[in-house]
Amino acid sequence: MTITGQPVHRRLGMTDDEYESVIGILGREPLPAELAMYSVMWSEHCSYKSSRSHLRRFPTQAPWVVVGPGENAGVVDLGDGWLAALRIESHNHPSFVEPYQGAATGVGGILRDVFTMGARPIALWDQIRFGPLDDPKNRYLFGGVVAGIAGYGNAVGVPTVGGEVEFDPTYAGNPLVNVMCLGILREEQLVLGTAGEAGNIAVLLGKATGRDGIGGASVLASASFDDGSQDKRPSVQVGDPFEEKKLIEACLELFEGGLVAGIQDLGAAGLACAISEPSGRAGVGLDVDLDAVHVRESGMTAPEILMSESQERMMAFVRPENVEAVLAVAKRWEIESAVVGKVKAGGTLTVRHQGEIVAEMPAASLADDAPLYDRPFSRPEWLDSLWETPDPPSIHPAEALTRLLDDPGIGSSAWVHEQYDHMLFLNTLCGPGGDGSLLRIRGTTKGLAVSTDGNGGLCLLDPKRGAARLVYEAALNVAMTGARPMAVVDNLNFGNPEKPEVMWQFRETIEGISEACEALGIPVVGGNVSFYNETDGGDIHPTPVVGLLGLADPVPGRLPGLGRAKERMEIWEVGPEATDNLAGSAFQRVVEGHLGGRPTAAEPEMAREVIDLAGSLAHQVPVLHDVSSGGLPVAVAEICIASGVGAELWVESDARLFSEDPHRFILMMEPGTVSLPRALARRIGSVGGDRLSLAGASVELEVLISTFREAIPRRMRG
């Protein structure tokens, strides 16, 4: 069976060995539909075949974990019968091929992962990374991705309340588009992705199945880019937020009525995944009739129907007596529905099309028998030369500060977040532009805090230290809203796992995240791995993105905010004193144009102490802000800009000034508001005036404000 000279399985992204495994399972050559199903389910994107063995390292247990990794989303217990569901996903490759639809369908996909659990999605966060904006191609990608997130998220009616934007040449050939979603539910509404028991009926809900996105998981998400990437455009799905909105409301009504036994969204690998995974999890079989599937185009073949990644579809498993009620709910919300299968005892998945059996295999084999690779890894030899301590830089504080504020990853994100509806549902107590987000749960005293953090440069220099610092940074950010860190999801964006150096970075990153989570006593409840982020052989910096959920109970009566600094307030720096280590800092990237040295390691005990302190200070002081990208001067400048007031800093002009050493935050308060532990806190200045003075230099507030505000807009004007 060959097409244009290559065996079909290779054209579907499957190796010869994997093909032999399929023959071993079936005891015969696979039929075309079977081959299609195995090829998508065994793709890197769906099977995690290169990463699974390493992901087991993550700590995943805690008394408050209701659902850990492996389901559609992680679920944690918030107390008083409330649960939160969270998940993070990447849509890197589709967004490079078609930025608007790639980003839009990324939003749609993550929403389905969350409401599949029975939760109402209440907020989204986007972490997006591009090459420098002086290249029109990057402006096109950045603008398209932001428009796609806005176009889908706003219309589907879920607020996008925060995220990250970063620009670095490493992402020029391979932008990163990650999205995190948080949902809440009452505990009795929790639903899992299971087919349940024999006799249950499979009901396909939502949009008709078309030819879009065929092989997206295997062809697009699990391969690298080269000059032929535009040919992959037909593999990108097209999103329809209106259909998704109706689907969300219909599904939530089904869950409230207890009408489904289990439900699975159709994302990567489409129907192939949605019929096999729930059956495999439940240890049952399933008869599926592809003729019953509502299709958008005539003449679709069985493999096309099974592999299609058409958006806005869900597969519900329903007890026979509830089928009529389920179809009635679908009709009321004006979404299409079709009875497409029946659960049976035994573990065999049988798929029929036009009166013939087109696929028959053990349902669990598609997930459980997926290949598992223990890929070789080795520490990159070039790391030693990168670690050589660079000469101490000459510091010009005023110039460095304005250049940092002009960096589009540090300057105001308003150009981005003002395109997102970040206020819907009236829950957003802390929205975009601050450190962590905070959303209230109305009718309770609780608030949910989220911070998402990534830093590719830091992780290139030391993936383990870098990744651990991301966890601590996120934990500190949620603490500054009054929340206690609770759980982590991670999105691991890496290069080609077939390269031992990339696998080493991957392992080190997992170790770093795991150690930090263990030190904080919080579990990893889900994640996503995106490999093959390389173009023309060049891998991106290893870029783990950590999303950390915290619970504030009660929510502070008056939250600290960057805009609450006033004349004559004291300025304090809290946490360990910075060293002169600038490795992986924004100062290196923006001011020096150089990346080198070994980043400062996190200190677990210090981290815990500082996080606890920030959590209690959040209830007492008006201004808290973490010291991260751009170091202390940028942190203080951001407060000055938001508050419209100057400040005087009593600091010295050396490398320590722009260091991004971990576990530090800025506090501002009226004199004597609280008494701070002397071992942890240092008075460093006063609020007041119309300029920011530091280390013998100063910048006018007006200049800070205009530089900060214009960092993105002036570049997007071209």
């Binding site: 806005a150 706003n154 219309a155 589907v156 009616g157 329809d240 937020p241 209106f242 259909e243 909105k245 109706k246 919300w333 004006e334 308003a414 977040h417 003002e418 395109q419 997102y420 509806d421 970040h422 206020m423 819907l424 549902f425 009236l426 957003t428 107590l429 209230r440 109305r442």
Partner: protein, 214 residues
């Protein structure tokens, strides 16, 4: 005294509007767009969102939803009829308000606080406010740019710093009788200091005070 809050497929601000009205002591209930009898209600709000996906043109499909005949009847009967954001677009498409809403001047979605000024207090949205009163309120729209090539319209609220290119800086527009009003910024999003502003309460109170038994 009951307010119907209409839900089209794609509407998304309905729960926020009901929450805000109820927190002010109002009685409000969700009504599906296929409803053909609103005789139990004394006023109606078309909330924000993307009715019918905003496909074809904002509000262009929603105007044909079955409930719109009843909305029209209430408008004629002098009952308060308020369209917020997408609801404003629907009322213009349905011909209950003058003009139309087109894409923002800068062709980008705008979600942020803006300041508006009360320019007419003889409408169901502004009767409890003072002329010239300034209100800080979130805008959240892509097609928020109101244009009216025809006769003069009653502008109830005006942007201080016109963010979207609206004709005459109009942020809220009323019919001749002042009982049908479309407002582009969201009063329900400015009804709680914790969320950044409670300035919108006076607008929602105006609406509630305008209700008279049907």
């Amino acid at each position: 005294m009951r307010t119907a809050v209409v839900v089209f497929p794609g509407t998304n601000c309905e729960h926020d509007v009901v929450h805000a009205l109820r927190s002010l002591g109002g009685e409000a209930d969700l009504v599906w767009h296929r409803e053909t009898d609103l005789s139990d209600f004394d006023g109606v709000i078309l909330p924000g969102g993307f009715a019918h996906g905003d496909y074809l043109r904002t509000g262009a499909i929603a105007r044909f939803s079955p409930v719109m005949a009843e909305v029209g009847r209430m408008a004629v009967s002098a009952a308060p009829v308020l369209g917020i954001c997408n609801g404003f677009q629907v009322l213009c498409e349905a011909g209950m308000l003058p003009g139309a809403l087109i894409a923002n001047r800068d062709l980008a979605f705008i979600c942020r606080f803006v300041e508006v000024e009360v320019t007419d207090t003889a409408t169901i949205l502004t009767r409890s406010a003072e002329l010239g009163q300034r209100i800080r309120i979130p805008l959240n729209s892509y097609e928020g740019n109101w244009v009216d090539p025809g006769a003069e319209a009653r502008v109830a609220l005006r942007y201080l710093d016109n963010p979207n290119g609206s004709q005459g800086s109009a942020a809220a527009v009323a019919n001749v009788d002042g009982n049908v009003v479309g407002v582009m910024p969201h009063p329900e999003r400015a009804s709680d200091e914790l969320l950044g502003s409670a300035d919108g309460i006076v607008l929602l109170e105006s609406f509630l005070e305008s209700l008279v038994p049907a």
